[in-house]
Symmetry: C2
Subunit: 432 residues, 2 copies
């Protein structure tokens, strides 16, 4: 893909890539020292960062929606928590240098597959300035350079943060140029075209924003646009588990991508379950919308075709009665977004079929969809949740920021030895 790109951004990207190359060979200790230096520099710059954020907030107040404003706003506690997060990244296991394959191909011809950094991450986020702090620490831990592009409302905050990060890095062996900040909207589109220098794009923002990014780049994107998650209550469900899991999956944090939008219920259990769950949901102020069969049991608004593919991110739940497990799976694979879907049943065979046939990164049995999360899975960090088919998918920790390379070491070995008549055989012996 040949694209017209202004020199300055290309030059920035090239510099980031070149500096990242030296990051790739540092020891875990050197990277952890740099992460601690960043934490200290952010602490020292606390007043400056809060002042910059106050200016951002003053300029944006009344101009952006309230939820966005809350994400923009940094107070001392939020900043301290972000700095604590930086130190937590220091404690994570180093994802670089892990030997995945160690194999003798022949005497003294040794193959190793070893994890290594990707190179340069492009991270595009909306208002949230603390995202710049977290992702910079994750990038350094994984040996990657990072080009940050924050929302324009957060420009002053991001500049103050990146200034502190640079100051911290300047006291280490790592070049401050491994962390770059872009501030204009035009640069976002250009960043998406820098295939040659940027290895992974991580978008953080609304569904439509993520979709825009996915459709406008050939660089791999770590993220997901939609989170249309389902809960299926099987005919063999334990009713009390079913109610508890439904309440948690819908109401524990309705704005989360792993909250459910649609409840599917086997027709044999629908009357009993619906009369039990409806009052519970109403207690949690959940608006219910149902298909024809549901509305024969409950007096609620109708669900239309649009409802089945809508991520409400709100206290709304669409309900459909299905004839069978097969119908439930077909509905999920048709309307779902491949994020997380769960079944409640006491029948192990039914659960196995559901877990095998539902096309989603997370398939759950007798538990809330809200568990789909890198921290809850024990990854120590969550870089993003990916709904693509290829790995890394689902909640992605530091593992998603590295790749691997094959290292082959010989003593003058040539392929001609292993081909044609009297050819030698490979030993292909896995080593410890």
């Amino acid at each position: 893909m040949t694209t017209q790109i202004d020199l300055p951004l290309t030059a920035i990207a090239r510099k980031t890539r070149d500096c990242a190359q030296t990051l790739a060979v540092l020891s875990t200790e050197q990277k952890n020292q740099a992460i601690e230096a960043i934490a200290q520099a952010l602490e020292s710059a606390t007043d400056e960062i809060l002042a910059a954020n106050a200016a951002d907030c003053a300029a944006a107040y009344d101009k952006i929606p309230k939820p966005l404003y809350h994400r923009l706003k940094l107070d001392r506690a939020k900043l301290q928590s972000a700095i604590a997060g930086v130190r937590d990244v220091g404690k994570l296991a180093d994802p670089v240098g892990e030997v995945q394959i160690h194999r003798q191909l022949d005497d003294s011809l040794i193959l190793k597959r070893v994890t290594c950094p990707l190179g340069v991450l492009g991270v595009i986020f909306e208002a949230r300035p603390d995202a710049a702090i977290q992702i910079s620490a994750l990038a350094i831990k994984s040996g990657n350079g990072v080009i940050l592009k924050g929302g324009k409302e957060a420009t002053r905050s991001c500049e103050a943060i990146v200034k502190a990060i640079h100051l911290g890095l300047s006291q280490t062996v790592i070049s401050p140029d491994v962390v770059q900040l872009l501030t204009t909207r035009e640069e976002t589109l250009k960043l998406l075209q820098l295939d040659q220098f940027v290895d992974l794009i991580i978008p953080r923002g609304s569904n439509s924003f993520v979709r825009f990014v996915q459709e406008n780049t050939h660089i791999p994107v770590l993220g997901h646009a939609d989170g249309v998650c389902h809960l299926y209550i099987d005919r063999a469900a334990d009713l009390s588990k079913a109610v508890a899991v439904t309440i948690d999956s819908k109401t524990q944090y309705p704005a989360a991508c792993n909250a459910i939008e649609t409840l599917l219920i086997h027709q044999a259990i629908a009357p009993a379950f619906l009369t039990l769950v409806a009052p519970a949901m109403q207690q949690h102020n959940v608006e219910l919308r149902g298909d024809v069969e549901t509305r024969k049991i409950l007096d609620i608004a109708p669900a239309t075709e649009t409802d089945w593919s809508t991520e409400y991110s709100d206290l709304i739940l669409s309900i459909k009665v299905v004839d069978s497990l097969t119908d439930a799976i077909a509905h999920i694979n048709e309307y779902g977004s491949g994020h997380t879907d769960a079944i409640v049943t006491e029948n192990a065979e039914t659960a196995d079929t559901f877990l095998a046939q539902v096309n989603a990164t997370g398939v759950f049995h007798n538990c809330s969809t809200r568990f789909a999360d890198g921290f809850r899975y024990g990854f120590g960090a969550e870089v993003g949740i990916s709904t693509q088919k290829l790995p890394p998918r689902g909640p992605v920790g530091l593992e998603g920021l590295v790749t691997y390379k094959y290292k082959l070491t010989g003593e003058g070995h040539v392929v001609a030895t292993y081909t044609g008549e009297n050819s030698k055989l490979f030993t292909h012996k896995d080593l410890d």
Copy 2:
């Protein structure tokens, strides 16, 4: 991405996806039985397939380049070898169902990350009809449906092959619809737009063809356009190893993507090495092109800027004298295609730096670049070689045709238990 797509192809793709879903839950034995049934059906259809191929060859003769014609032509031995290849796939380990993570999150809340099929593969190949045989077997072994699009010259051959595969599958539990064949060129572009139904595109053909595919789809592509591989002869090289590795890397099979195109030589060793390697290369009919420093030592044609980024796929070698290891690495990272690059040196530290800093899927020390191959690595099969940064990269075996999903099983567990005041802690205990 909303695109205008004719109904028929979408319908075919949907059917393939739906049938592939049942493939995903089959046992290894069931898949192996299907693979054996395909092998037997191809054996029974040998005469029919060879007759169809003879008709393809007669129609294409004098109309297509000789190398393409040779790839198109199937004789009894080549077909038998392809059928033997099908049975070899039957013997490979099943890539589906491998448990990658097995972790207790809390009492009776168990997380498993388990490999599963991707869904549907789209395979686009040029003339080669035997590719249809191999990839169909690999698709079934990995639990995927496959949509094949062969070159128009091979239409009769592919039709006869797929007819036999369908006949074989019809005697098994697997629907013949998991293997589909497209035959018109227009369908290629449409296939590339079927994001919703096709999970991976595997292009097999010329560099420009692969590049075309990469630039015209949002579906992940397994493949590589260029193979501009380098060999760097360090100042601390053993000269006899250096000569042997150079000859093998360039001449053992010059049309291969893992053959070298450029030789880089440290200036301190350039006179000694060049006077040794030049006659050896001339014996192998290799045309040499050199930079200014090289031409002070050898009387050869000049290498221009274009040479450094050209994959000759032929007996031509460009040579450059560099001042240092750093220069060699910089040249490779600038002009290379990230495929495979090697160093010859007796200095272990120099080798380590080269292997760490060269951005390529394969980084080799004291051995031929020609080893970069799935069979030589011991993978049992090679689906393709990928030069992208994200895994799977390098030579990719069956592992490249599967992904994973997270399966979480509880007993009514909800997230509310683990949040807020008095929240329970996760145990995060890895299980066997």
